[in-house]
């Protein structure tokens, strides 16, 4: 049996010499390449990041636009920078889902037993996720422009808002990575994280202005990081001064990464 199916000759099993271990950068890039391949082979992965944003933008614009701002077009000017924030924050959960399924399938065991820079698999996965966030963001902005969104600050403002949202998404992805390492199944990553994300994104000024809320709620919403982010996104796109909100988001992102990245990396190195 071995003769017909398993070409013998130990030469094939031998590699001339052990190469020098991959550099940190090359390991991260290789793992980012893997993330791209996964998107290529399982394009369904992009379904959530394309269909959901389109659905949300259309639904909220046309359902609430008339009631909240007089017309869908007027509401869109307010909503679009915010819906961008909400959509991207929602899809950050997939980072945790991906980490969890890599662990369940034993793939992280393989990575961890290789002599490479240990954070590479996590950073490589994040690089792939940033690509997905970008796809979703570009779609929303393009759809917005088609529907009549006119950002006063022009392309530069939109680009800055997009980058700021990416920074924040990168930061909270680390939290989902911790989740992904902690819980047993990808499904529980989804359910647990949405318990946080629903209040976090809806109890913000993404959909309605702060002034319309009862005062007790206003107090909560004002301190929601998502409120700062959607303020910043709105301001950058429409050219109003939101320096304070931008700084707030940058500092919050730095704090989240500074706390959760080391925890995530320690959990990654340790046992499960």
């Amino acid at each position: 049996m071995s003769q017909d199916s398993m070409p013998q000759g130990t030469d094939t099993l031998r590699w001339r010499s052990r190469p020098k271990p991959a550099s940190a950068l090359s390991a991260v890039l290789t793992l980012a390449w893997r993330a791209m391949l996964k998107i290529k082979h399982v394009p369904f992965q992009l379904f959530d990041v394309t269909v959901t944003p389109i659905m949300f933008t259309l639904l909220f614009t046309y359902m609430f636009g008339g009631a909240l701002a007089g017309s869908p077009r007027a509401y869109l000017q307010f909503l679009l920078p915010g819906i961008l924030v909400q959509t991207i924050i929602f899809i950050t959960v997939y980072t945790g889902v991906g980490v969890n399924s890599d662990i369940q399938k034993g793939l992280f065991d393989r990575f961890r037993s290789l002599p490479m820079w240990q954070p590479a698999p996590v950073l490589g996965a994040l690089a792939g996720d940033l690509f997905r966030y970008s796809v979703a963001a570009l779609l929303i902005i393009a759809l917005g422009l088609v529907l009549g969104f006119r950002p006063a600050a022009g392309p530069l403002g939109v680009m800055l808002a997009f980058l700021l949202v990416l920074v924040f998404a990168f930061a909270i992805s680390w939290i989902w990575i911790i989740f992904g390492m902690k819980v047993k199944t990808p499904e529980s990553v989804m359910t647990t994280s949405f318990l946080f994300l629903m209040p976090l994104t809806f109890a913000s000024n993404i959909f309605v202005r702060l002034e319309t809320m009862p005062s007790w709620l206003r107090g909560v919403v004002r301190h929601n990081p998502v409120t700062h982010l959607s303020n910043a996104s709105r301001g950058l796109m429409h050219g109003t001064d939101v320096t304070a909100d931008v700084l707030w988001v940058l500092v919050a992102s730095a704090v989240i990464v500074a706390i959760s990245a080391p925890i995530a990396m320690r959990m990654y190195r340790q046992e499960r």
Binding site: R18, K20, L37, K105, D109, S113, M116
Partner: protein, 324 residues
């Protein structure tokens, strides 16, 4: 000969469960060594500690002279691990998986592609090169997984239950591969719960139970440690067991009956194989029908039974694993 693996009083606890409870193990380089034991005995934990995936809770472990905790990075440069589940990316193709590992080990893109193509050929996977691993059969998955462990030839290869769940043909292929890898100079440590597998592949083996080594040696040594030949009768009917037992013990004053849970079988240890014929004709005269009869050295089942006092009880072991 150099020492590939040495553990001293190795311990690993998960909460209150003691997965490794003072394991002492010495494995020489250049051999296939088997860790044998039921589910939950601690085999996988032992391999994960040795491959630097788990930190031990106590005791020491060194691999190729390097401490698995202090020199974890250098250990990883010399060993490869093939886990119990195919640790390759199911979404990627066979070729892409091997390129991925080759790149992560530091090869250039062109070297990585060449290496992947060579390995696919060596593992009879060329036709599946561009298929996603999720569409591979169990045997193909196991082969791509082992191939991923051989991208650069490791000095020591860990194989965790390499043939669990495989059909006999795929199992034979994996066995051939293991022999080939060992012939090529790589030390192989494999875990198995199949006694036959350890018997076929491993020159030496350790029987593991409750996180400890309870017996160690070559297959032959383990078998002769319980002494003599085993004479085994499979009765046609359990009702005749008492009668048969009386005849057997009457004839074989020097033989000891080996413990046995099967109500239709009797195993007796005998010093001299020549008594078998006499026992057979006595049983036949007493009209005791036999379904099967064998004479041979004790199996590893007998060894496990002799050292633990219980058969390889997969149900109890599985329950213990769930508990841990």
């Amino acid at each position: 000969m150099a020492i590939a693996i040495e553990t001293r009083d190795l311990r690993k606890t998960f909460g209150s469960a003691r997965a490794l409870d003072g394991m002492n193990l010495v494995v020489q380089t250049g051999s296939v060594y088997g860790l044998l034991g039921p589910n939950g005995a601690g085999k996988t934990t032992a391999i994960r500690v040795l491959a630097t995936l788990l930190e031990p809770s106590g005791g020491q472990a060194s691999v190729l002279g390097l401490d698995v905790v202090r020199d974890a990075d250098r250990v990883r440069q010399k060993v490869s691990l093939t886990g119990q589940y195919a640790s390759v990316d199911e979404d990627l193709t066979g070729q892409e998986n091997l390129v991925l590992v080759s790149r992560l080990l530091g090869m250039s893109w062109s070297d990585a592609r060449r290496r992947a193509t060579d390995l696919l050929a060596a593992f009879a996977l060329t036709e599946a090169a561009d298929r996603q691993v999720r569409n591979f059969s169990g045997g193909m998955r196991r082969r791509i997984d082992i191939a991923a462990s051989l991208v650069t030839r490791p000095e020591l290869l860990f194989l965790d239950e390499p043939t669990t769940g495989l059909d006999p043909r795929s199992r034979n292929q994996v066995w051939d591969l293991v022999r080939q890898i060992a012939a090529d100079g790589t030390t192989v440590l494999l875990t198995t719960q199949y006694l036959e597998e350890a018997d076929r592949l491993a020159e030496r083996m350790a029987v593991i139970d409750h996180g400890r080594v309870i017996a160690e040696g070559t297959s032959h040594e383990l078998k002769s440690s319980i002494g003599g030949n085993a004479l085994r009768f499979q009765l046609a009917s359990a009702a005749q067991r008492a009668d048969a037992l009386a005849i057997v013990t009457g004839l074989l004053a020097d033989g000891s009956v080996l413990p046995n849970t099967d109500p239709t079988s009797i195993s007796v240890k005998v010093a001299d194989a020549s008594v078998a014929a006499g026992v057979l004709s006595a049983l036949s005269r007493a009209n005791i029908a036999l379904a099967d009869f064998s004479l041979g050295t004790p199996s590893l089942d007998d060894v496990f039974f002799a050292v633990t006092g219980r058969p390889v009880d997969t149900e109890a072991a599985a329950a213990a694993e769930v508990a841990s």
